[in-house]
């Protein structure tokens, strides 16, 4: 246990060092350079490579140019600092505002396309809140994918959270109904509802989500208190379409970005935060229960650059 922790700490340090190194390299690369077209193109390239998208990248660089002109910036190093500030400014719109804590049970519906990390994120959240002393209940709302229920149960054991389930193939809304009833009866503080992965373009499956949401409201009038959309950091421009269609269908209240422990930067988040003004609650950085972090605009911007 202690060793595992040390390992992770070491890894974390190594990663920070890498980041620092690459930043230093970059700075060395541009030191003494002047603001010119080539430099701007390089910056745009870096943004596109981070999945910011060509249009947003273009807009950001235009803003950068304008700002640089206004502030009389000529040095490349200073330019980069301005760019960083612009990114942080955009991303800061995604920092969740502290809201009032709703009456228990607080019901959180977790949705997203296939394989983005819904179940894993639920496991991590459950672990975190149980460790903080809350009574957490997991609702096995993915009755479609093979062994999805078993997967959630394993996470339930890891996190020491109760799981309410039906059989595979059952009506997900019925599971959710039972889970919320159980939560009320048992005095659970948080309910995390898993749902089957679905492509946002499938109308019938989006209807199913609406039904699940309605059923939640029947048991707990103010539920769901959160609708969390999980996004995979490796996703490119399609993430925008995911947010738009999930949001239109069921009203997303917040985002979680997973798989940021890889080499993908998740730059599409810039466009999403700017366009939809949705808070980013957490980021996923691995497959272990503790690999969940609060969203930090500065760190996110640094990793993009």
């Amino acid at each position: 246990m202690a060793l595992a922790f040390l390992d992770r700490w070491k890894q974390g340090l190594a990663k920070t060092r890498q980041n620092l190194q690459s930043r230093l390299d970059w700075l060395r690369g541009v030191a003494g350079r002047r603001l010119d077209q080539e430099l701007l193109e390089e910056l745009e390239e870096a943004l596109i490579l981070a999945d910011v998208g060509p249009q947003t990248a273009g807009n950001i660089v235009a803003r950068l140019q304008e700002k640089a002109a206004r502030e009389g910036i000529r040095e490349a190093c200073d330019l980069k600092e301005i760019l960083r500030r612009i990114l942080v400014e955009i991303l800061s719109q995604g920092v969740p505002a502290p809201g009032p804590c709703p009456q228990a049970p607080r019901v959180i519906m977790v949705v997203g396309v296939n394989g983005v990390g819904k179940t894993t994120t639920i496991g991590k959240l459950a672990k975190r809140w149980v460790d903080e002393g809350s009574a957490v209940l997991l609702a096995a709302g993915d009755t479609f994918r093979a062994a999805a229920i078993e997967q959630l149960e394993i996470w339930g054991e890891r996190a020491r959270a109760q799981v309410v389930k039906h059989q595979s193939g059952a009506d997900p809304a019925a599971v959710i109904y039972d889970a919320l009833q159980a939560a009320k009866a048992r005095g659970s503080q948080v309910v995390l509802a898993d749902t089957a992965g679905r492509l946002h373009t499938k109308m019938n499956l989006m209807e199913e989500l609406k039904k699940i949401k309605r059923v939640m409201g029947q048991v707990v009038p103010t539920a769901p208190h959160e609708v969390l959309l999980i996004l995979d950091a490796t996703t490119g421009q399609n993430a925008v379409s995911q947010v738009r269609l999930f949001h239109e269908a069921i009203g997303v209240t917040g985002l979680v970005v997973t798989k940021l422990d890889g080499t993908a930067k998740g730059g599409i988040l810039l466009r999403i935060v700017d366009e939809f003004r949705l808070p980013v609650h957490y980021v996923g950085v691995g497959e272990s229960p503790d690999d969940l972090r609060e969203f930090d605009p500065e760190a996110f911007a640094d990793s993009i650059l």
């Binding site: 999945d51 296939n114 492509l199 490796t234 490119g236 399609n238 993908a264």
Partner: protein, 443 residues
């Protein structure tokens, strides 16, 4: 979003109309649009750069075909280059001379390996083979249970690991079980892993070195962005990929990752996944993906075919007649002749979005001959206005064309139906008929 690429390019090239030659100058703006479209489709930055360069080289100095606008001409080059890059032919799975064929499925977390393993098992069985599924994912909770459930649904045996077994041991056991039980394909589902995870990549390498699979297929999500290049390169360098399967193609992702992965690995895209059900696996067709990346449906290949056959004048006339609702059997006959020159009718129908519904309505190719004969046996008046065709006229026409009265009836019905549909399509605007025949637009 970019259904409009062709349209945008046309706008840019409008001023060029009739000038004849594509030059560095006059295609610059167009290539910028192409670049944007590809980036928006998630094709990797460097791949886009090289690609646009190649298109430029090819385009400059080309003469604009008579039947195409300069915009269409550039799109045509772009499209051809895309297909060239994606690989022209479908590359099937390589089955071993000496069965069993060993196939590894590898990739990032959540890309769809397990489902794809199930789909491939079904595909193999339908090809008359006897697959064995092997659950070598010991990382993700309940991964083995997931594969076991799929196997049950398919009635395909699944080897699930004993607790504590290492993936290489599991795969080896699968191989020996296959030999014993006469399975000729072994499909190994491996754990999802990050390409920068040193331990898990080493494990995969070890598996490949020990068991020498015939196929190592990278399962990649069609929605992947720029990072596709990093992961594909690492997996290829680590274990040597032999092919790619692109999943979740049933959504609205443009699938530019296909291009990136193909460019950096040089391996063929063998299948695409188009749904959660286990029969939703399709052979890869470069044409379709190329059009999708550019955002213009298969209409583009139709443009190509049509361009060879349809004369501008006729097409324009046809468009006018449809719009003015003056479409007659004369026009119908003319159209049939053109269609015949354009290749298989079925194929053409397939390519027009929304036209699949029309299948039952359209005559099959053999029938075309009959239809032509029937129309030829009508008088000019009858061809102009089918309302005058009473039953005695029908009998005469049938006799004259060596057909039966019900053939004539069917043709008249088809004609009315076609007319109705054409009206609908032409009302749908340039998305419809305008793109069917390139010449139809300007008028």
């Amino acid at each position: 979003m970019f259904e409009a690429l062709t349209g945008r390019l046309e706008g840019i090239f409008q001023k060029l109309r009739g000038r004849g030659l594509l030059t560095e100058e006059n295609i610059r703006e167009g290539l910028r649009e192409v670049r944007l479209a590809l980036l928006e489709a998630d094709v990797h930055f460097t791949v886009v750069k090289q690609f646009v360069e190649r298109v430029r080289e090819r385009a400059v100095g080309q003469e604009v075909l008579k039947s195409l606008t300069p915009g269409q001409q550039v799109v045509k080059i772009v499209h051809e280059e895309l297909i060239g890059l994606l690989g022209v032919n479908h590359v099937p799975l390589a089955f071993a001379q000496q069965p069993p064929t060993l196939i590894f499925l590898v990739g990032l977390q959540g890309s769809g390996k397990t489902t794809t393993a199930g789909k491939l098992a079904l595909w193999c069985r339908e090809k008359g083979r006897s697959p064995l599924l092997v659950a070598a994912d010991v990382q993700r909770p309940a991964a083995a249970a997931q594969l076991a459930t799929l196997g049950e649904q398919l009635k395909v045996p699944v080897l699930t690991p004993k607790p504590g077994a290492k993936p290489v041991e599991i795969a080896r056991e699968g191989l020996s079980r296959a030999r014993k039980q006469a399975h000729d394909v072994v499909l190994v589902d491996t754990a999802g892993r990050l390409h920068i995870d040193p331990d898990l990549m080493a494990e995969l390498k070890e598996m490949a070195a020990a068991l020498r699979p015939h196929e190592v297929l990278l399962v990649a999500d069609a929605m992947t962005g720029q990072d596709a290049v990093n992961s594909a390169t690492a997996f290829h360098g680590g274990v040597g990929l032999t092919g790619i399967i692109l999943t979740k193609m049933d959504g609205d992702a443009r699938g530019g990752a296909a291009l990136s992965i193909r460019a950096v690995t040089g391996q063929a895209i063998k299948f695409i996944g188009v749904g959660e059900k286990l029969d939703r696996l399709e052979a890869f067709h470069p044409e379709r993906i190329a059009s999708r990346i550019l955002g213009m449906g298969d209409v583009l290949s139709l443009v190509e075919k049509a361009q060879q056959a349809v004369e501008l004048e006729n097409a324009e006339r046809l468009a006018r007649r449809i719009r003015e609702d003056k479409f007659t059997l004369d026009d119908f006959r003319l159209q049939l002749q053109q269609v015949k020159r354009m290749g298989s009718l079925e194929q053409i129908m397939e390519m027009i979005p929304g036209f699949k519904k029309l299948k039952g309505v359209q005559p099959d190719e053999r029938e075309l001959v009959k239809v032509q004969a029937i129309i030829d046996s009508m008088t000019a008046e009858e061809r102009r206005d089918i309302a005058v065709i009473n039953s005695s006229r029908k009998r005469r026409i049938a006799m004259g064309s060596g057909t039966q009265a019900h053939d004539v009836n069917r043709l008249l019905k088809q004609f009315t139906e076609t007319k109705r549909l054409m009206r609908q399509i032409s009302r749908a605007g340039p998305q419809g008929l305008g793109k069917m025949f390139p010449g139809l637009r300007g008028s």
